[in-house]
């Protein structure tokens, strides 16, 4: 036989389906309840109760007719980010150095690329299922304008998940201890969650602040999700938002593969 780069990546991922299904079967009950309850709490507390105090012209809410309708699309996108980051920090480090699951996987014909892709497919599925639940929970609140808008918003939320998932995965492969996660959460994830337009229009941050917010990956997803949900789409901006998220995903994938290779195949 000539040079064998291993099995095709689809086959490599396929061989790990049983593993990830087993992992999912073990954890889905816990995550199902939290992914149903958490959005409900958020929407009731912030959208309905806090939003009840907010009365502004739709033009100041990026076209939303209520604060609830403004909040929900951004909140789901932010939730996608948090889910993806949660799934690619401690769990990935655990598989690298605590349970050393990757080490056992790489002793088989699986390649680093297969292992990274399969894990990120799982992360994406987690993000998709949690966002789907979120969208179903908020549907009765009358925040969905058109079905196709909701579908495109859902796809944008998944893109948020793939972008953050792959970038943070890449970061985790380059960290030797979990101490850095605290910094990532406090100085990266949390400020982005608060200031990337999920809770208020970024225009409120002033000119400079607004531009900084628009440079964050989360804003791209928040904006996409909201434009589609409110059926108020600027297609040029949507194209940029989607392109940024896709490019970040591809860069993250590449860095993830090189990072894990450097870490485990030495």
């Amino acid at each position: 036989m000539a040079v064998t780069e291993g099995v095709p990546v689809s086959e490599g991922i396929g061989r790990q389906v049983d593993y990830w299904l087993t992992v999912y079967r073990r954890t889905w009950k816990g995550t199902a309840i939290s992914s149903f309850v958490a959005p409900l709490f958020y929407v009731v507390a912030m959208g309905v109760l806090l939003g009840g105090f907010i009365e502004v012209d739709p033009s100041e809410l990026e076209g939303a007719t209520s604060y609830l309708a403004f909040l929900v699309p951004g909140l789901v996108a932010a939730h996608a980010m948090q889910t993806a980051v949660g799934e690619t920090t401690y769990p990935v480090m655990g598989m690298i150095k605590w349970q050393r699951v990757y080490e056992s996987m790489l002793a088989t014909p699986l390649a680093v690329r297969d292992v990274v892709f399969a894990h990120l497919v799982f992360v994406t599925a987690r993000v998709a299922s949690t966002c789907a639940v979120f969208m179903l929970v908020v549907a009765p609140f009358g925040v969905i304008e058109t079905w196709w808008g909701a579908v495109l918003a859902f796809l944008s939320q998944i893109l948020v998940g793939t972008a953050f998932g792959s970038l943070v995965y890449a970061l985790t492969t380059r960290m030797s201890t979990p101490e850095g996660f605290g910094v990532l959460f406090r100085l990266g994830v949390f400020p982005m969650f608060l200031f990337s337009g999920a809770f208020f229009p970024v225009a409120n941050l002033g000119e400079v602040g607004a531009w900084v917010a628009r440079l964050t990956p989360l804003w791209q997803g928040v904006n996409l999700s909201r434009m589609f949900m409110l059926d108020n789409v600027d297609w040029a901006v949507a194209g940029i938002n989607a392109t940024v998220l896709i490019v970040l995903t591809l860069v993250g994938l590449r860095w993830s593969v090189t990072g894990l290779r450097k870490r485990l195949v030495s």
Binding site: E5, R15, D18, Q99, P109, A111
Partner: protein, 312 residues
Amino acid sequence: MIEARDLRKAFGDFEAVRGIDLAVRKGEAFGFLGPNGAGKSSTMRMIAAVSPVSGGELRILGRDPAKDGPAIRGRLGVCPQEDTLDTELNVFDNLFIYGRYFGIAAADVRERAQELLEFVQLTDKAKSKVEDLSGGMKRRLTIARSLINRPDLLLLDEPTTGLDPQARHLLWDKLFRLKQTGVTLVITTHYMDEAEQLCDRLVVMDKGVIVAEGSPAALIQEHSTREVTELRFGVVGEDETHASYAEKVAEQVTGLGERVEVLPDRLLVYGDDGDEVAAKVHERGLRPVAVLVRRSTLEDVFLHLTGRTLVD
């Protein structure tokens, strides 16, 4: 099965393996014996086709690991030094999931997993959590897992380190049975008794190079005497340690055997008749508090070749 010429592994400036030659034949049990840091594990990782070779040539199962890594790994069984079992899966699933990584059909893996649980005597633990298993059971499960793809070559990195004597003997028995079925075994160990029990042929490694090669019996014959007389002296004065005292006594016992080694806690006198050596020691008026006459082991070979003991 394995051929290496001038094989090297470097991590930055540190060279862990400094040019070794190897040839492992089909069906034999081949050992790497050496203390921690000798380069055994680095060599094993290169043979397992997970660690790129830094220099020299390496062929595993006739293939080049740099090009055919996945194909080679598909024919290997790997039992790593530290258990990498998935503690979140039960015993059976650890085997099943692992078999799937090799692309073996689900039904076949299930059947094979049952067979292997039987082989390592864990059938009644199939549904147990891995974390509830004892150390010996975990090792047996790791060995079962490494056999899931019916490997041609089984790599065992320190298979019994950290196990109690009973668990070690049970494991040796399993490995011996595997060897009987024609599986080629490659074992690293820093236990000389393990190497003597399991290996047909071994290399002694120290600081990244091979210092001796041969069967355990041949190595002992070549590098040591038939018997060893161990002498332990009581500490005499307040400030005098055993070592400094032994140094002085060593001069007096020189000539009794072929060779004398001074260890921190005892003196080893190498001679073909240990009892005769012991008798002469007494004739010379020396009064050791303990005398032990025993056969030479690979430990003595290692001590002779490197001037150090295996387990520090």
